[in-house]
């Protein structure tokens, strides 16, 4: 064997490999997939009213200077019912909330609002899920924190839990 150092090459490669493993083990795994829409303006949309007696929702309306929530929901979504009390609590604390109803029928939306309350200023009807897809939202319910300029600052996937309410209020307060 002319060059004995060649024999150490496998050991060196193994060392590099294990270095990567150690690095990966000590860095905590990220379980949350960051939305690509964070810190970007809301996509453009203009949704008709979701039922009788409510206003539709336009993306331009989200840039009126007041930080707000946009809640993606549906009357057929069981977890959304569990979320209703938390939205009411946020509403009571003075947080403006807009809704986007996904693939929903006007009668069903009206029934949902009657039964679980209506915390929404406006509710747009997204019949084809097109806005939902544009937002990169993968299910219902999801909630977006929008600052006063219509820019998405945070995406909450799934039901807002009661202990998250004060944090959301504080975050929206801070955006003012």
């Amino acid at each position: 064997m002319k060059n004995r150092w060649v024999l150490f090459v496998p050991l060196a490669i193994m060392g590099l490999l294990f270095g990567a493993f150690v690095y990966r083990l000590v860095t905590p795994a990220e379980t949350l997939i960051q939305s690509q829409w964070i810190d970007k303006p809301m996509p453009l949309f203009d949704l008709p009213p979701a039922t009788v007696g409510v206003q539709g929702l336009k993306s331009s309306q989200l840039a009126d200077g007041r930080p707000r929530l946009v809640n993606v929901f549906a009357s057929w979504c069981i977890p959304c019912r569990a979320e209703a009390p938390q939205l009411e609590a946020l509403k009571a604390a003075g947080v403006p909330i807009d809704g986007i109803a996904i693939r929903d029928r006007p009668d069903d939306v009206a029934m949902f609002l009657r039964e679980y309350g209506n915390p929404f200023d406006r509710i747009g009807s997204d019949m084809q899920s097109s806005v939902q897809i544009a937002l990169g939202s993968s299910g219902v319910p999801e909630t977006f924190l929008i600052d006063g300029k219509g820019i998405i600052r945070e995406q909450i996937q799934g039901v807002i839990l009661a202990d998250q309410v004060p944090g959301i209020i504080a975050k929206l307060e801070a955006m003012k």
Partner: protein, 656 residues
Amino acid sequence: MIAELGLALLWMAAALACLSLVAGTLFLRGGSRDLAALVRPASVAQGVLTAAAFGLLIALFVRSDMSVELVARNSNSLKPMIFKIAGTWGNHEGSMLLWLMILSLSGALIAIFERRLREDTLVATLAAQAALSLGFFAFLLFSSNPFNRLPVAPPDGQGLNPLLQDIGLAFHPPTLYVGYVGLSVAFSFAVGALITREIGPAFARAMRPWVLGSWIFLTLGITAGSYWAYYELGWGGWWFWDPVENVSLIPWLAGAALLHSVAVTATRNALRAWTVMLAVIGFSMSMVGTFIVRSGLLTSVHSFAVDPERGTFLLALMAIYIGGALTLFALRAGSVAEGKKFALLSREGSLVINNLLLTTILALVLLGTLYPIVAEAMGEKISVGPPYYNKVAGPLALALCLVMVTGPLLSWRKDDGRKLWSRLPLAAFAGALVLVLLVIFGGKVGILPLLGMTVAGVVAVASLAPLWGRNLLRTPLPTWGMVVAHFGVAVCLAGMGAESAFIKERLVAAAPGDVVKVGDFSVKFVGVKPIAGPNYTAIEGLLVATTSSGSSFAMRPEARTFPGLMGTAPTETNEAALLTRPGGQLYAVLGQPVPSDDGTADRYQIRLWWKPLVWWIWLGGALIAIGATLSMLGRAQLLAIWRARRARKAQERFAP
């Protein structure tokens, strides 16, 4: 009592591993021969005790003893018996015990059967095997005790992932494990031979049947796993380049390289350092693969949600074993004298090219599998998918197949190529014929499938060439093995090429009575009916597929719902219906119902694929395994031993 007994057996087996290691080491450092005499029986006893412990764990699962934590978490009294048994290894602790049992049994088998090696090399090998098992005993006993009792037994268990409740999958992990862990024998042989510096044909011949044996199981495991993914996941694909598939492919590639290079060492006493290194790499890759899967480094269906502490333990263990073996290699391999020389145009020459190609493919697959981890360390999130693998591994694999054409037709040491040139034209003609037919009748075919099918034609003919002009009855078994295995590669390659090139797919929302055309079939959707299985409910669709020649076949795809046990959510799986025809398979999946607006009967999403020659892929895999088995039987010289024994008996009978 069963659980406590099992734990006690594990501790005793660990103590025996300790004994083998200490006695073996003392003997090798100049101790008495009495020490060496301890090692064989200790290894056998360790194997028996560990197997008994595993048997007791199975017994606990069979009895649904919910006071044992592992059973409560992974089994359920309502499960069919076969899946209760399979549940034993369908979880982290149980699979680690299975791993350990195979490791210990391998040691026991070496102790019982290996008579060709020098005694000190054998003792070193067994000591190395004991050292390997000792680390995994520590891992099992200190951080993954499968026999742990619960303070209070729950009324029933939490069940097993419904996807895993499939007869094929029940036996897929044990098969792969035998393959993975079987490579530990080659690893220990390499370490043993490095310690005693006995690296030569005797060592290679002793190691060869073990390499072949574990490689057979790896081949079967990968083939079965691919078929399972094909019919159970309902996606219709047979290879996804999923990290977990890759980590089974990597040891397989290492094993393939090893069993070819070990042939060179055994026959020609060349490539010695290289063979030793491959033997170390093979089992190292098995361990790295298991570690990647288990530690959650890469998320996948196969990760049993392991805490980081266990990951660190496994990593430390592997660093000791692989690092130790590679250090030993670096220090000792330099003193291994270079083997015999050979010309490039020779059997050895083509086997060297084979090895270089195989290890390059191995490195590329490993790189693709680990790249996301490395990239993330640099702050980038990336996933590596089929386009990368197909592009880099595909052409190399085809080149490898071409080497496979020439290699077996060359003689050892030096060849004038006469046999090669006389037999090659027919193979080349077969390839050209396939190519011409494809270009004329095939329509638009991708370049890789086109080349794949052409090369398959060449290899199919060339793989049979070593048999020409030979007395088939007198052809040695290993030659038959090589021919069958290489022919299997051609069959597999043809299947892959044809499936990728000519697949037909339809996705429709069909109402009962609708007819869908796919390939040569018209498929009529008759309707659906609810059915109940042993632990699930399902909607079963009835499809009638009619060929252009008029024969009809019923197909019954199912959408199954497994109830959530102990408050977990219900799980849905799709059971595809497969119709196997000589020309391929028709694959049907029943999807979601599509409610109709006008009150008529619901329509159903139905996905249909016509996959030409797809079953050749697994047939090829089976042929490769059969070929390797023939070769192993020949190499293990079972026949020779049997003949010798018979001859001896005959002599004794006539002795005065």
